[in-house]
Subunit: 150 residues, 2 copies
DNA sequence: GATGATTATTAGCCTATGCTAACTTTTTGC
DNA sequence: GCAAAAAGTTAGCATAGGCTAATAATCATC
């Protein structure tokens, strides 16, 4: 191991490659829960507004068709986030409520942060929707602090 | 139409629902191109560093298996972003290079922005990887301006 | 230049997330 | 209380993006 300058052969290189891979793996993991989080957050909102979350309302707000909603709700039920009965509205489990609360919290912080940067509300809402699933705790704390002191 | 207070019945409500749906549709669209963008960006980097992008290196850096890389490269080729020959390295088309450049630009801005907020480099890199696909032009401009004056 | 190691591909499987078409159930309005 | 409308479900299809196992090609070394 004399020639440390070889392509790909240093320890440092290896560590960099692995760390890069871990970042991508992290992003893929975040992606997997994105849809579930969006649904649970929306369901919580609908329940708050209307006392129940009907598939038809979820469908309209998510911009997907009713069968897509049905299938996704099936996964959420399987994963213990919601309860449902055939032809009935959907409700959150304890776990679902906890997740919804966390998501709402994150969403609020990201949104307030973007607004405090001077972004228009429309764009802020859109970007927050996409960004909220990809901010670490650490970043979220910085966002919150920044929005606070603005 | 006297009772404007009815659930779901106002024009404003309808507009809000539609705008919400559009936000989600936008996020889904962004998600569809995320993987392609990550690959193209990485391929550009590898070519810059090594003169070529080998599947095995893409695989190591993306943290996925070789067959997954092969399948994804197939899609990129189909979409006109790369050229490839069997058992050979991959190269970018004009279109691929343009996309890579744009992605790199976005990535840099988001990364610099996060760093200028005071985030540690490790976390900044990870979060940038996830966030970069979900920032609008407008937000990007604000990020760039903020990082500049810091 | 044969051969073992490395790299790339193919086949085949799985899950998530979307869709349309067809059907069932529930709700609503006379 | 019945018929039409609205809502929900099921079946079946497609694509993306993961995986493992098996196969094929290339490279490096003696």
């Amino acid at each position: 191991m004399i020639d440390d300058e070889n392509l790909e052969s240093t320890e440092a290189e290896a560590r960099a490659v692995e760390s890069r891979a871990e970042a991508f793996i992290g992003v893929r993991e975040a992606r997997r829960s994105e849809v579930a989080e969006d649904y649970v957050e929306l369901i919580a909102e609908l329940i708050h507004e209307n006392g129940e979350a009907r598939p038809v309302d979820i469908s309209a707000r998510m911009g997907v068709t009713a069968p897509t909603v049905a299938k996704t709700l099936g996964r959420l039920a399987r994963d213990g986030l919601i309860t449902r009965a055939k032809y009935r509205s959907v409700f959150l489990t304890e776990e679902g409520r906890a997740l919804a609360k966390e998501c709402r919290h994150r969403h609020e912080i990201v949104l307030r942060f973007l607004l405090s940067l001077g972004l228009d509300p429309e764009t802020a809402e859109r970007d927050a929707e996409g960004i909220e699933h990809h901010v670490s705790e650490r970043t979220l704390a910085l966002f919150a602090a920044f929005a606070q002191r603005s």
